[in-house]
Symmetry: C2
Subunit: 287 residues, 2 copies
């Protein structure tokens, strides 16, 4: 933190936000946790210096991580969230007709801090009777096994430190094994412009397991490079079989009122030449 500006670095790029004040800063057993009050984005959470979410734009990332898999599944009853300590994925998942959601977050401190400084993100979801919040390593949770899920959403930090194993082939295999035969996995897969190799790596690991894949692209102003990706792997349901009208129909039946997600946005990234370039092994800007 430098005067009243905060900077996030990603390789040769940095983004800076003017801040009103530091609300919280402490090192947990797993990471450095900071919450700052920004001028433009309300309260902002950073883990190890990387922006995780803000009060004002959280809906973009959370809607785009949650609604595509949960709408693709005609009857998502059991959901597992790995990470997601700010509660945003949980809150959005509870808008669907689920029966039970496990949220397995390794760092209790993240939960506490988010509830205190950015309570609108989790809302009442942590106290919802369908929510089972476990303070536990998501990798170990899946290794133990025993439970089956319709949907698994991996809302992790970047593949550094503790989160690294959440991007491993072994982890995806464990997740695959924990999914019902019509189950769906979604994981965040990084910045299109600044982490193309991460996206490609996730995409190819998932493609060796799941017959159906889709890249979800979202525009999150507070993430480095803005254009952020998540990758969806599906055992049975083909995300490209549904028409925009069918997606919209499902969203209406579930009484969703998204602020960012639209049925047509779902289909947008597959038409995006820069994404195709990345998946074909290049960088978006090679000549």
């Amino acid at each position: 933190m430098d005067d009243d500006w905060l900077e996030e670095r990603l390789n040769n790029y940095g983004q800076r936000y003017r801040i009103k004040k530091l609300l919280y800063k402490e090192r947990s057993p797993f990471q450095e946790i900071e919450v700052v009050e920004t001028w433009d984005w309300g309260a902002m959470l950073l883990l190890d210096g990387a922006v995780q979410t803000t009060e004002r734009d959280e809906f973009i990332y959370h809607e785009m991580l949650v609604h595509p898999p949960l709408l693709l599944h005609p009857a998502p009853r059991k959901v597992l969230i790995v990470g997601g300590g700010d509660g945003g994925v949980l809150r959005h998942s509870l808008q669907h007709p689920v029966e039970e959601i496990y949220m397995v977050e390794i760092d209790e401190k993240v939960l506490e801090v988010c509830e205190k400084y950015m309570p609108s993100i989790a809302g009442d979801s942590l106290r919802d009777e369908r929510a089972r919040v476990l303070i536990e390593d998501g990798f170990a949770f899946l290794e133990e096994g025993g439970l089956k899920f319709d949907i698994i959403i991996v809302d992790s930090t970047d593949p550094i430190g503790e989160a690294k194993k959440l991007f491993s082939r072994r982890f995806y295999q464990l997740a695959y094994n924990a999914l019902e035969k019509n189950g769906i996995l979604v994981t965040q897969s990084g910045s299109l412009f600044y982490q193309p190799q991460l996206l490609r790596d996730v995409y190819y690991k998932l493609s060796s397991l799941f017959p159906h894949l889709a890249v979800i692209m979202m525009l999150v102003p507070t993430y480095p490079g803005v254009v952020w990706t998540a990758t969806l792997g599906s055992k049975l349901y083909d995300p490209f079989q549904l028409t925009p009208e069918e997606w919209l129909q499902r969203a209406k039946e579930r009484k969703l009122s998204p602020k960012y997600w639209t049925a047509k946005l779902q289909f947008f990234p597959q038409n995006f030449p820069l994404l195709q370039k990345v998946l074909q092994g290049g960088t978006p800007f090679a000549s």
Copy 2:
């Protein structure tokens, strides 16, 4: 410039690029001109501290400013470019079957510097026999009048200093008057996330003149907030009348090989809820 990092500020936001070296820095009669060699983006041009273009990602902004209006017009013969000193708009416009392109750039120094340090952006276009390059104030050029154009493209800096008048109602009226009865105007209209009021202002000024409007949205990694807009006003041709297949057909007939533009990308922004929110008078992130 701070050590080997360069920063662009826009209100409460800053973006920083790691640079290898400063190639050029001088104040012209109109603005401060800088060219830096970056690690990620090749040579980068800045005017008054704002990134204008880079060698690696220039194609995104230039394709999206040029191809929508020139493809929408079935026979674009005469084109006027206001600004555009780096030559990128000129180079891309010459890919269409035009007869004559006037490029009216106020600052000779920008032309010289770009030709020297980032020659790939203009390519051979400045020496093309269809190009008429004038060092002149674009506003005064249109006030003089006398010429008529099929297409006018305003490739200006942000509305600060000299460029401010290029966003005025009077300027748009002059441009309207200089267009043939089936003419099309395009102007850059700023950052969706950080300049929503600018976009709205341009949109409503153009809507009082042109019966057909479209917002073009592009993802330019080196512009603040990445999501950049241009606004298109058309006297006769409705951009939403053409199907994606018809756009693509025109692009094929003209033998274009765009790296970013696609027929479907054209239609994307009108489905984008955050854009709708801005045009309806809000900010993208108000609750």
